[in-house]
Point group: C2
Chain length 197, copies 2
């Protein structure tokens, strides 16, 4: 029987627990919980403490924001993401506020913010599935996102039906995403592709 996140080392339980579900429980996320996740995002580090991340929020049934985000998802993601009570779009500010120079870390730092959000979410038994499969140009247009910002990932956020730590097997459609490269294959010492051992 295969447990979720079969790690080599004894990693923190929230890192092992986090995964990207393909379906959510029909239960809303309380506004305060969502604000907590967004605050967690903000505690990521960033170059010059620029905090280049922005988020567009869509709460199901609340305003049209959810439907607008949903309309940008590709067909494959629309198939399952509509079960999520919350949809988000993450956006990165491409220029530094202090001097309008390019911020080469805007996407890197925005990714860190989303990761912090994912950890806080896992702590609250909330899961996030990030999606690259959506029409970023359409999102930029319908939300009037200025061109000095880059639309990054879409996200589906919600609770899931089963606690993964209680699951004995990985759901079939998640197996691909539960495999990781060996540490030696992505860590180098002294020179490129000299494995760190």
């Amino acid at each position: 029987m295969i447990k979720l996140a079969k790690t080599i080392y004894d990693l923190h339980p929230l890192i092992k627990k986090r995964f990207s579900p393909h379906g959510f429980k029909d239960e809303p996320i309380e506004k305060e919980q969502l604000l907590k996740l967004l605050e967690a995002a903000s505690w990521a580090p960033s170059s010059y403490n620029e905090q280049p991340w922005r988020f567009i929020i869509g709460i199901k049934g609340d305003t049209g924001s959810y439907d607008k985000i949903f309309s940008c998802l590709n067909e494959h993601n629309q198939h399952w993401a509509g079960s999520a009570p919350v949809l988000l779009i993450s956006v990165g500010k491409k220029m530094l506020t202090r001097n309008n120079a390019p911020n080469r870390f805007h996407a890197f730092d925005s990714g860190q913010a989303v990761a912090m959000m994912s950890i806080q979410a896992a702590h609250e038994d909330i899961y996030i599935h990030q999606m690259g499969g959506f029409d970023a140009i359409k999102a930029q247009k319908i939300f009037h996102i200025p061109e000095e910002y880059e639309v990054l990932a879409a996200m589906a956020v919600g609770k899931i039906k089963h606690d993964p730590s209680q699951m004995d097997e990985i759901p079939k459609d998640e197996i691909f995403y539960r495999n990781r490269k060996e540490i030696e294959s992505f860590t180098f010492e002294n020179d490129w592709e000299i494995p760190f051992k």
Copy 2:
């Protein structure tokens, strides 16, 4: 008296604890602990599970790798980062392995990997200070990093002299990095810059 990471919501202790110190304890990081941090990085999500992140590792006194990384840091960072027992460089693969198309999430996902590493590190009482202030072109050259990879952030990794949860005041040179924007200023609903409330 000011505590570190004064958050609005009751965020996870590891998110509140994580910060970027400007100095480290003179104590090595065990190799197994470092491998654990690197494995934690690998459990970040990524587009198509591409895992675009790569890391170059430098352990003080071990091989020349540390000195090579150190030589790329700018003067300001060299001033304090040499106290760290470990220096790293994070690198992102710009093309998708499966079809060689551009991976527009390589930096975003590499940022997530570093954030996961930071959370695991905080759990192990290890701190990471990421740096943009270094010569990425020099790093690309001296480590023979192919051009289909982008050098992202440098990082100093180590233990610190005091447990921040025991500190009553933020060290003066950290205050700038302990401030965060209000949630309303970076979260929007329905349209750009319409605050999410």
